[in-house]
C-alpha cells in the first residue's frame, strides 16, 4: 500500500484533472440538457421532434462510441474543437487551451452524452408539476417562456434535483473513460501509468483511484440526501 504515500502527488494530480473535466462537463451538460428539455416540452412539434431525437440518440448510444466519434470523428471532419478555447476559462482550466485537442474532445463527448440524461431528469420534474399550474398560468396570459420561468420550472426543480444529482454522479464515474481517449493524467490514466509503466501492483493503485472518485461522489450524494430531507419538510 506504500504506493498511496509514495505517489501521492501523482494521485493528487490525477484527482485535480478529473475534477476539472467533471466540473466543466457538469456545467456543459446542465446547460445543454436544459435546452434539450425545453425543446422536448415545447408546444412546437418540430422542436419537440428535435429534442426527442437528441435524447433517443445520445441516451441509447454507449459512451465509448460517443467518445470514439468525438476523438476520431471530429478530426476527420477537420475540427479540433477550437471553439472551446474560451478566453478566461482556459486560464483556470489549462487543458482547454492546449494545442492537443483530446481534453476538449473528451469534454464534448461527456457533455453530449450526459445532457440526454439531464434532459430526462428535468423533464420528469416538469411532469411532476400538476397540469393545473401550467393551465392556470396560460389562462392568465403568460407566454410559454414566462410560464416555464415563473411557474413550472421553480416547482419542477424540487422534483428533479435528486435524479439530476444521480446523473451527475454517474457522469463523474463515466469520466474514467477519458483517460483511454488521449487525455493524459486523469485518475484512470494515472492507474494505468502506475501499474504498467512503473510496475506497482494493481490492487493498491485501484484502491487509490477509487478513493479519488469517492472523494468526489460521496459528498455529492450526502448533499443530495440533505436536500431531499429538507424538501420533505417543505412539503
Amino acid at each position: 500500500m506504500s504506493v498511496l504515500i509514495d505517489k501521492f502527488d501523482v494521485f493528487a494530480g490525477g484527482f485535480w484533472l478529473t475534477l476539472q473535466i467533471c466540473v466543466l462537463a457538469a456545467i456543459g451538460a446542465l446547460i445543454l440538457g436544459a435546452i434539450v428539455a425545453v425543446l422536448r416540452i415545447s408546444p412546437v412539434p418540430p422542436l419537440r421532434a428535435v429534442g426527442t431525437a437528441y435524447v433517443n440518440i445520445f441516451r441509447n448510444m454507449p459512451l465509448t462510441v460517443v467518445m470514439f466519434f468525438a476523438a476520431f470523428g471530429l478530426p476527420a471532419l477537420g475540427s479540433n474543437a477550437d471553439f472551446l478555447r474560451i478566453p478566461g476559462m482556459d486560464a483556470v482550466f489549462t487543458r482547454l487551451g492546449t494545442d492537443l485537442p483530446y481534453f476538449r474532445f473528451a469534454l464534448i463527448a461527456l457533455v453530449l452524452y450526459t445532457a440526454a440524461f439531464v434532459c430526462e431528469a428535468l423533464r420528469s420534474g416538469v411532469n411532476a408539476v400538476p397540469a393545473g399550474q401550467a393551465e392556470a398560468a396560460r389562462s392568465l396570459g403568460l407566454t410559454f417562456g414566462q410560464n416555464l420561468r415563473y411557474v413550472v420550472l421553480p416547482q419542477s426543480w424540487k422534483a428533479s434535483i435528486v435524479p439530476l444529482g444521480s446523473v451527475i454522479i454517474a457522469m463523474i464515474k463515466n469520466s474514467a473513460l477519458v483517460g483511454f481517449f488521449g487525455v493524459v493524467g486523469d485518475l484512470s490514466q494515472t492507474a494505468d501509468q502506475l501499474t504498467s509503466a512503473e510496475g506497482y501492483a494493481f490492487i493498491p493503485v485501484a484502491i487509490g483511484i477509487s478513493i479519488g472518485y469517492l472523494i468526489m461522489t460521496v459528498p455529492l450524494g450526502a448533499l443530495l440526501d440533505r436536500i431531499e430531507k429538507r424538501q420533505a419538510v417543505a412539503r
Partner: protein, 294 residues
C-alpha cells in the same frame, strides 16, 4: 422428433470428440517419448512442466511481428517463435502450449500469480520490473525511434520536442512513453497516450500529433503497411532489451531459459525465428545480445 434428432447429433458429437481425444493420446505417446528422454532436476520447474506436458505462455495478441493473433487463431511473431524454441527444449509438443494474452499492464501480475509459466511479450528488461519478477535474456535489443509523416523535416530526433511545440503520441504505461517524457517540455500540452498504437497512427494521419514514438520494430511494421505516408526520423535513441519474464525466485528455470537462448543463437534457430517473423519488416537483427545472468 426434433428433440430426438438433436440428441442424436449431440451423441455423435460426443463420440467424435471422444475419438479425437483418443487420437490425441495416441500421438502424445509418440512425441512423449522425445520428452521422456529429457531429464531435469527433481522438483525443478522444468521437470514439473515436462511431466505435465503442458505450458502456459503469456504473449501479446496485437503486436505485429512479435505476437499477433490473426485468422489462424494462434498468435504469430518473433516472441511466439522464441517461446516455442524454449518449449521444444522442455520436451513439450508445440500444440500443448496454451497462449494467454498479456497486454503490457498485466505482465508482472500474471507471472507473480502463476497464471502463466513464462512471458514473452516485447518485455523490456528494467530494474523496476526486476523487483517483482526475473528476466531471462535479452533475446533481442530494440531501440526507441520516432515515426513522422513522410514530408516532415522538422523532427530529427527526440530533441526536436524540447522547444515545446511538437506533439507526440505513444501508448499509455509503456517504456517509450516514459522515455519521451524526459524529452518534452510540457507533458500536458505535448504528449498524448492511447491504449493502442493504431490510435496514435490515426492521430498522426489526422494531424493532431506530429509524431509517434515507440520501439523501432513496431514503427517499422506501420511503415511496411503504408510506405507512402510515414518514415522514421533519425536513429534509435534508446536500447530496449527484450527479456523473458519468469518468477523472481525461480533461478533454475531462468538459467535454463538462458541456456536455451544461447543454444538457439549458435544453432541458427534464433535467426530463423526472426527471418520468419519481424525480419520481414526490414528491421536489422544484428548480433545476438549476450544473455544477462544476474
Amino acid at each position: 422428433m426434433r428433440m430426438k434428432r438433436v440428441a442424436a447429433l449431440a451423441a455423435a458429437a460426443t463420440l467424435a470428440l471422444g475419438l479425437a481425444a483418443c487420437g490425441d493420446n495416441g500421438s502424445d505417446e509418440g512425441t512423449g517419448s522425445g520428452g521422456e528422454s529429457k531429464s531435469f532436476a527433481a522438483g525443478s520447474t522444468m521437470e514439473r512442466l515436462n511431466k505435465a506436458q503442458a505450458i502456459k505462455i503469456g504473449t501479446k495478441f496485437d503486436q505485429p511481428g512479435f505476437g499477433l493473433k490473426g485468422l489462424s487463431g494462434k498468435p504469430e511473431g518473433f516472441d511466439v517463435e522464441v517461446a516455442k524454441i524454449i518449449v521444444k527444449e522442455l520436451g513439450i509438443p508445440e500444440d500443448k502450449i496454451e497462449w494467454v494474452e498479456t497486454p503490457s499492464k498485466v505482465r508482472e501480475d500474471v507471472i507473480v500469480n502463476g497464471t502463466v509459466d513464462l512471458v514473452a511479450a516485447t518485455y523490456t528488461i528494467n530494474d523496476t520490473r526486476k523487483e517483482r519478477i526475473a528476466f531471462a535474456g535479452p533475446y533481442y535489443e530494440a531501440g526507441q525511434n520516432i515515426l513522422v509523416k513522410k514530408d516532415d523535416t522538422t523532427i530529427t530526433g527526440p530533441d526536436s520536442f524540447k522547444d515545446g511545440t511538437k506533439k507526440v503520441c505513444s501508448v499509455t504505461g509503456s517504456t517509450p512513453a516514459e522515455e519521451i517524457k524526459k524529452h518534452v517540455k510540457d507533458v500536458a500540452t505535448q504528449l498524448v497516450l492511447f491504449d493502442t498504437y493504431d490510435k496514435c497512427r490515426d492521430a498522426l494521419k489526422g494531424g493532431q500529433v506530429d509524431a509517434v514514438t515507440t520501439d523501432n520494430v513496431i514503427l517499422l511494421g506501420y511503415i511496411a503497411k503504408d510506405e507512402a505516408s510515414f518514415k522514421l526520423a533519425g536513429e534509435n535513441f534508446t536500447k530496449e532489451p527484450y527479456g523473458i519474464g519468469v518468477k523472481k525466485e525461480d533461478t533454475d528455470f531462468r538459467n535454463f531459459v538462458n541456456d536455451t537462448l544461447e543454444k538457439a543463437y549458435s544453432d541458427g534457430s534464433w535467426k530463423k525465428a526472426w527471418d520468419d517473423t519481424a525480419g520481414k519488416f526490414g528491421a536489422e537483427l544484428g548480433n545476438p545480445p549476450a544473455v544477462n545472468r544476474y
